[in-house]
């Protein structure tokens, strides 16, 4: 009742929806210019060439689709099965080392895809379907654990207790009460994970070789190596259709989840596990160990050569690789990575926070445009980074200035990937701020801008910092679009790693593994810093 009233008043207070709708145009314009236009340009380019229909109906295309969706489905299932016990531990258990578990789960999510691919290659040197599925799942356990755990932590335990009192066994109570309550979060997480897995690029490229190809790697192959633009366009269209379908399903699940979240109880629900719950805790422990194994494997690999332990790879970071494989030294690339990711994060923060504020305003006044913006902001996650990257090359010289060679190109492409992440992290926190708190500040004499500074900013401040941190590490590890856009004289670390791996020479691969370890150290450092902020784990990622 009070909420409804507050909602209505907001509409009136700001002279209505039209104001927010106009504000929504800004992020939409950003998306149109730096996302829709390049993607459409590439697709039309392909369409103009003809042969799209032929590509669409070839058996090879549909084998690709089947393999892409199949591996994504399998990866999603594995990620959910592995993620649920971890979600339980994070949400419901009061045991030592929880912060460590949270960090351990988070690290894989922000590791560069190429690094993960390499890490799994240390266990499966020849690649294959199993490592692809496991690697994709490895990334996304964090998404499941955090999304589901976030809801689980706020789900009233008494419903479960009531079921037990009515005679349900513990597993029965879980299946009939807890699981349905968590279903929206699981659905939402599954949609996101599926999206990530279906468009995963680095992992499949490193582990699939030429045998196992997905739509994403095939688009890359056809665009870059075969110059088969019409084939690539056809595949892009297919991918786009699939992604849109998944996004719509995810949006539906999220809508249901938001109503569920409003019922949440702030009561402290965590307690020491008892009885059978210890099995679940043990399961979660196994998952954490499994998540850490590739990381440890990678570090070990970077230190060992045929002649025993050695720091040769790390020393080589100061060079341009074996016989001048690279145009710059490893450290130069690292420096460039750090700078580019910083620029990308700034852009993504501006666009993401602005979008989140607009989305809150729009959602309060109950507009359809909110859902359009929400879904549009997620799209870049699901469209081939390669398409975006190539699209940039085709379109950006139409912009004033020599944009195609601008050092801003790579940060902008990375920002596209990071923005949805920031929106998803900031949005729930902004939504949770009671409108009447803002009104109280206004009646005490605070102007609208002052209200934002005095109320909204302090309340979302920490999650804003956390979002920026995650955004930063994701940008640091971005590979698909960057590999396409980075100039040879200014590559980022992931690009350098991929290049080193593709060249012969033990020193090159040694150096690649060392670079991976370097990237991981930076990433883990960021994640641990963010964990220290103790941001409530209510984000949707």
């Amino acid at each position: 009742m009070a909420q409804a009233r507050a909602g209505l008043s907001r509409t009136r207070l700001f002279g209505a929806r039209s104001g927010w709708s106009a504000a929504a145009l800004l992020p939409l314009a950003f998306l149109a210019l730096f996302f829709a236009w390049p993607v459409l340009a590439i697709v039309t380019l392909g369409l103009d060439e003809g042969g799209v229909l032929k590509a669409l109906f070839s058996a090879e295309t549909w084998e690709l689709v089947a393999f892409t969706l199949g591996q994504a489905f399998a990866s999603t299932v594995v990620a959910i099965i592995a993620g649920l016990p971890v979600a339980f531990v994070l949400a419901r258990c009061r045991i030592r080392g929880l912060g460590l578990v949270r960090a351990a789960v988070m690290v894989p999510f922000v590791l560069p895809t190429v690094v993960v691919g390499l890490a799994f290659r240390t266990f499966w040197p020849d690649g294959g379907v199993l490592p692809i599925v496991l690697a994709n799942a490895f990334f996304n356990v964090a998404v499941v654990a955090r999304t589901v755990g976030g809801l689980w932590a706020h789900t009233d335990r008494r419903a479960e207790d009531a079921a037990r009192a009515l005679g349900a066994s513990r597993p029965r109570a879980f299946l009939s009460v807890v699981l349905p309550a968590l279903a929206p979060a699981i659905g939402s997480a599954a949609a996101v994970v599926f999206l990530f897995c279906a468009t995963s690029f680095g992992v499949v490229l490193v582990l699939g070789g030429s045998r196992y190809r997905t739509l994403e790697t095939e688009i890359y192959l056809r665009t870059v190596e075969l110059f088969d633009l019409s084939g690539a366009a056809a595949l892009s269209l297919l991918q786009f259709a699939a992604v849109l379908a998944v996004l719509v399903l995810g949006a539906l699940a999220r809508r249901r989840r938001e109503t569920a979240l409003s019922l949440r109880d702030r009561e402290e629900l965590a307690r020491r596990p008892s009885g059978g719950e210890w099995y679940v805790v043990a399961g979660a422990g196994l998952v954490v160990v499994a998540l850490l194994a590739p990381v440890v494997g990678l570090v070990t690999r970077s230190l060992s050569t045929r002649d025993g332990w050695s720091l040769a790879g790390y020393a080589a970071l100061a060079t341009r690789g074996d016989r001048g494989t690279l145009a710059v030294t490893g450290f130069d690339a690292a420096l460039n990575s750090v700078r580019t990711a910083f620029d990308a994060t700034v852009v993504a923060l501006v666009v993401g926070v602005f979008s989140a504020v607009v989305l809150v305003g729009l959602r309060r006044s109950g507009g359809r445009i909110a859902e359009v913006l929400d879904t549009a902001l997620m799209l870049p996650l699901g469209v081939s980074a390669v398409t975006v990257g190539f699209g940039y090359l085709v379109t950006m010289d139409a912009l004033p200035g020599d944009f195609r060679t601008s050092p801003l190109l790579v940060p902008l492409a990375q920002a596209l990937v990071v923005t949805p992440l920031i929106v998803r992290m900031v949005l729930p926190v902004l939504r949770a701020v009671d409108e009447r708190l803002r009104q109280a500040a206004a009646t005490l004499g605070a102007s609208p801008l002052r209200v934002w500074r005095e109320v909204d900013l302090p309340l979302v401040g920490r999650s804003l910092v956390a979002a920026a941190g995650f955004g930063y590490v994701v940008a640091l590890g971005e590979f698909g679009a960057t590999s396409f856009l980075a100039r040879p004289d200014a590559p980022t670390l992931p690009v350098v790693i991929a290049r080193l791996m593709s060249r012969p020479g033990e020193l090159n691969s040694q150096m690649a593994y060392a670079a991976c370890a370097l990237l991981m150290v930076v990433t883990v450092g960021c994640v641990l810093l963010i964990e220290r902020l103790r941001v409530p784990s209510s984000g949707e990622f």
Binding site: L8, Q439, G445
Partner: protein, 317 residues
């Protein structure tokens, strides 16, 4: 007149929340807006604060129309039902907020904060976190916060409804004293007539978006304007005035209108008996009609005589 509302109407699409309301509040006066939930009283309060825009009519302060004055320039304090304290600020930080907006110097700000905390009975709470306070304490802080910048008008939206009963009654008395001491001009929205009568110099009864009656508490209590208002004010039985020996058309009876008394003029049979806090409430059948009454211990089925207490009788109209 300090505050004047001139035929205010507030619409949400098709729904009319407030319909043609006119009301004035004098300098230093406390007026209660009393009505059942959903009658539009909170909407009216929020319109005065500037949080809602009236579809027609005007809000004036000292004859100046406030239509173009945004919320933060109206200098009207607002206290919500559930406090809405800033969770990231201490008690003192909350109370000081309005003073900071007014750019009051630190020294006089601190002094004012301390004197307000003393006023609401929370000395020594300055550095506490607001999340550690009980509901009653939070409401006191909310009140101090709203009073700190010395608002021209204090708006209270169900300020005590979220508290449990004992605390509510205590705080109502405190609040009444506080408003008098500070000579605050105030408008209180409430659905609880005890609260309204404790706090207010005048009571305005609202029903379905309209103000149906305005007057001093005693007058409104003893002469509600119509049957609906009388029902809202606790009357549960309506009889001709002659029934209680009055020469008016219709009267409403509250439970306290009939009291068990061996010397009383009426006689009936006890049908039900319920223990209340400080009395026993009975359902008595008199000549085939059921009436509520209060009385000492009796058994169901007893024949009792009843006395009429005019304090429990309300003249309609």
């Amino acid at each position: 007149m300090a505050l004047e509302l001139d035929s205010i109407t507030v619409r949400y699409g098709q729904t009319v929340a407030v319909s043609d309301v006119s009301l004035s509040v004098a300098d230093g006066e406390v007026v209660a807006l009393l009505g059942p939930s959903g009658c539009g009283k909170s909407t009216l309060l929020r319109t005065i604060a500037g949080l809602e825009k009236p579809s027609s009519g005007s809000v004036r302060w000292d004859s100046a129309d406030l239509a173009g004055v945004p919320v933060h320039r109206r200098e009207f304090g607002l206290v919500f039902q559930d406090g809405q304290l800033f969770p990231h600020r201490s008690v003192a930080g909350n109370v000081a907020f309005g003073l900071r907006m007014q750019k009051v110097e630190r020294e006089s700000r601190d002094k004012r904060v301390l004197s307000l905390l003393e006023l609401v009975g929370l000395e020594g709470y300055a550095d506490r976190r607001v999340t550690q306070l009980s509901g009653g304490e939070q409401q006191r802080v909310a009140l101090a916060r709203a009073l700190a910048p010395s608002p021209r008008l204090l708006l209270l939206d169900e300020p005590l409804s979220a508290l449990d009963r004992a605390l509510r009654e205590q705080l109502a008395v405190d609040l009444a004293r506080l408003l008098r001491e500070a000579a605050t001009t105030a408008l209180v929205v409430t659905h609880d007539h005890d609260e309204a009568f404790t706090l207010a110099d005048r009571v305005a009864i609202m029903s379905r978006g309209r103000i149906v009656q305005v007057g001093p508490p005693a007058e409104v209590w003893s002469s509600p304007v119509d049957v609906e208002t009388a029902k809202f004010l606790g009357c549960n039985k309506f009889v001709p005035g002659s029934f209680v020996g009055l020469s008016v058309g219709r009267v409403g009876l509250r439970a306290t209108a009939l009291r068990v008394d061996p010397a009383g003029p009426l006689e009936g049979t006890v049908l039900e008996r319920v223990h209340r806090r400080d009395h026993v409430r009975l359902l008595v059948e008199i000549d085939g009609e059921e009436y509520e009454a209060v009385g000492p211990m009796t058994e169901v089925g007893d024949r009792v005589r009843l006395e009429i207490d005019l304090d429990g009788v309300a003249r309609i109209g």
